[in-house]
């Protein structure tokens, strides 16, 4: 008769390094938490672990720190049954005959009754534990309670509640490893919940927090702008944005509505209006092309998309959304200077501001 091994119980020893390997291999059996791996509550039932024997064995084998432990029983099965092993367990070859005897592992007689009762027990335990434990901790506690051994005996003797408390009074060294882990985590949770922070501790924390906050704020306020300023050069090797365009008289002599193209290479049209002289930016306000001055049509016409502007720069046709911009313009020793670093926009009402034109 061939035999097959079935896992009756699986647990985690201390020392998990949270590598996530076992959860990937057997996701319905293991759950990797922040600090350790646990066996999922559902996987505490023997009926649950049996068909997952191969996955559990694989997980235990690949565990780098060897903390996954399990008990097995060897069952004699008929040829047909051996062939009809569940899909997960299809891989292992049937053990030779001597395994039949050797396979009586720690728990030779699995008590199927006790794990099946587990849900009830677990339910009670949840209520006896102070506060509402984190689900993962509750799972660990249930794991500890539903395992065989002393806890089980006590449970048989006394009431559920009592046994739950008794379990907590037990010497931790006698408990299974994940129950010890559960105690540690439970204690940590309680310490966090109770919030009995002494005044001294509170004050020292507050002082520390305030200190760091002040330090951080000071550093941000001083270093941040300093580095920000570092990225802004104070000296530029760029051409002067101020351009001398000749004597004012020259522009005063133009007819109103006239356009002077002498400084187009510098990006400027000088224009004469009824009562003032101004400097237009030659860049089309649609998409940045450079329009042409058409003296016969008396308009600026952009070759790219057909935007058109009146001689004073106001748009009247084509896709452009707004008039041409004007540069700052001023007199210095009778010479007209155009400052290209400062612009005046019609739609913002800036063409009436001082500096946008020179009164004739």
């Amino acid at each position: 008769m061939p035999t097959k091994e079935l896992v009756t119980k699986v647990w985690i020893d201390p020392g998990c390094i949270v590598c996530d390997a076992c959860e990937t291999t057997a996701p319905d059996v293991f759950e990797v938490l922040e600090e350790t791996c646990i066996v999922r509550p559902a996987a505490l039932s023997i009926e649950f672990t049996k068909p997952r024997t191969q996955a559990i064995k694989d997980a235990a084998e690949e565990c780098p720190v060897d903390v996954i432990k399990f008990d097995v029983v060897a069952l004699e099965v008929s040829e047909a049954e051996a062939a009809a092993v569940p899909a997960e367990a299809a891989a292992p070859a049937p053990k030779p005959a001597k395994a039949e005897k050797a396979a009586t592992a720690t728990h030779a007689e699995p008590k199927p009754a006790s794990p099946i009762k587990a849900p009830t027990a677990a339910h009670d335990v949840t209520h006896t534990v102070a506060g509402a434990p984190d689900p993962s901790i509750a799972a660990l506690l249930r794991a500890a309670m539903t395992r065989g051994g002393n806890a089980g005996i006590e449970r048989a003797g006394g009431g559920m509640t009592e046994s739950g408390e008794a379990w907590k009074r037990k010497d931790p060294r006698e408990l299974p490893p994940d129950a010890r882990q559960a105690m540690v985590m439970e204690a940590a949770r309680k310490a966090k919940q109770e919030g009995d922070v002494s005044r001294r501790a509170f004050m020292s924390n507050a002082a520390l927090g305030a200190g760091w906050l002040a330090f951080g704020a000071g550093a941000a306020v001083s270093i941040g702008p300093a580095f920000g300023r570092f990225m802004m050069p104070n000296v530029l090797e760029e051409p002067d944005p101020r351009i001398r365009v000749g004597k004012l008289q020259r522009y005063l002599e133009m007819d109103p509505g006239g356009v002077n193209e002498d400084f187009k290479p510098q990006g400027i049209w000088m224009i004469r209006e009824e009562s003032r002289v101004a400097a237009l930016n030659i860049i089309c306000t649609h998409l940045g092309c450079i329009p042409n001055w058409l003296p016969n049509d008396r308009k600026f016409k952009c070759p790219c998309h057909g935007s058109g502007y009146k001689p004073d720069g106001v748009n009247f046709e084509g896709p452009t959304p707004r008039p041409l911009e004007r540069f700052r313009i001023y007199l210095e020793d009778g010479v007209v200077i155009v400052d290209k670093s400062k612009k005046f926009q019609y739609e913002l009402g800036q063409w009436d501001q001082p500096g946008s034109s020179i009164p004739a």
């Binding site: 996530d20 990937t24 690949e62 050069p233």
Partner: protein, 258 residues
């Protein structure tokens, strides 16, 4: 042959580097991942369904591969390229004609185009498979930052050939920075930042000025884009890539098919 193999594996040098046997069984395979500083960012194991090509399209992996290609070719280009107005264009020409394997410059360019394509497809795949949902929402955020940084790498690299296309592309692109809220001199709310009528944010002191180190695309901008392209952004991307890969493992591996 096998005796030579045994001898190599038994010597002290081998043993000091590899603390585990040949990865033949599950344990040593897990050890191989866990004991390697680069591989340990990855999950020890992933679901078979998770690596199906029809599920991942391997687009994340391809993007990372192209990033490595860009690093290798880019570092090689840096041996010749000088980021100055005088030499930049000439050096790019020279990289094609004056060196063996002048193809490297083209590889760098094509790789950049391909990387932008694959990173978008990677994002599309993650979206279509719902892999942005909790618990992976943080990693989605990291991924979006990586996408933006990839586009910025393309943008800064665009200027370096210093031809007309580069000049005007960056002129138009950097003009957008004028409209930055608060920090751009034509942007919303910038007009409020003034003291006694003197504007604090103006054409000579705003986001665009900080980007170009000048008021137009000139020598300062070329040098600045070079440093951003070759040092600053790649370093940030490398750090975020490590986070991106590590979070895949911490968030439960490659997500499963829907």
């Amino acid at each position: 042959m096998s005796r030579i193999g045994d001898w190599v594996r038994e010597c002290q040098i081998w043993g000091s580097v590899f603390r585990h046997g040949i990865p033949r069984d599950r344990r040593t395979r897990a050890m191989a991942i866990l004991s390697n500083v680069f591989l340990h960012l990855h999950p020890v194991a992933i679901r078979k369904s998770g690596i199906r090509l029809s599920f991942t399209w391997c687009m994340g992996g391809l993007t990372f591969f192209l990033f490595l290609v860009e690093i290798v070719t880019g570092v090689l280009l840096m041996f010749y390229y000088r980021p100055t107005v005088e030499y930049a264009y000439v050096d790019i020409e020279g990289l094609r004609a004056h060196v063996t394997l002048g193809l490297l410059r083209e590889m760098h360019r094509w790789g950049a185009h391909a990387m932008v394509i694959t990173i978008w497809l990677h994002m599309l795949r993650v979206f279509l498979t719902g892999s942005y949902k909790p618990p992976r929402e943080f990693n989605w955020g990291v991924g979006v930052v990586l996408l933006v940084l990839t586009l910025l790498l393309s943008f800064t690299g665009y200027l370096l050939p210093w031809d007309q296309l580069a000049m005007w592309a960056i002129t138009v692109g950097s003009n957008m920075a004028r409209a930055t809220p608060l920090a751009g001199h034509e942007g919303p709310a910038a007009a409020f930042l003034q003291i006694g009528g003197v504007p604090l944010v103006h054409g000579g002191d705003d986001a665009r000025f900080g980007l170009l180190a000048g008021t137009f695309v000139g020598p300062n901008a070329l040098l600045r884009f070079y440093v951003l392209h070759c040092v600053f952004i790649p370093v940030v991307v490398t750090v975020l890539l490590a986070v991106h890969f590590w979070r895949i493992r911490k968030d439960g591996g490659v997500s499963g098919p829907l």
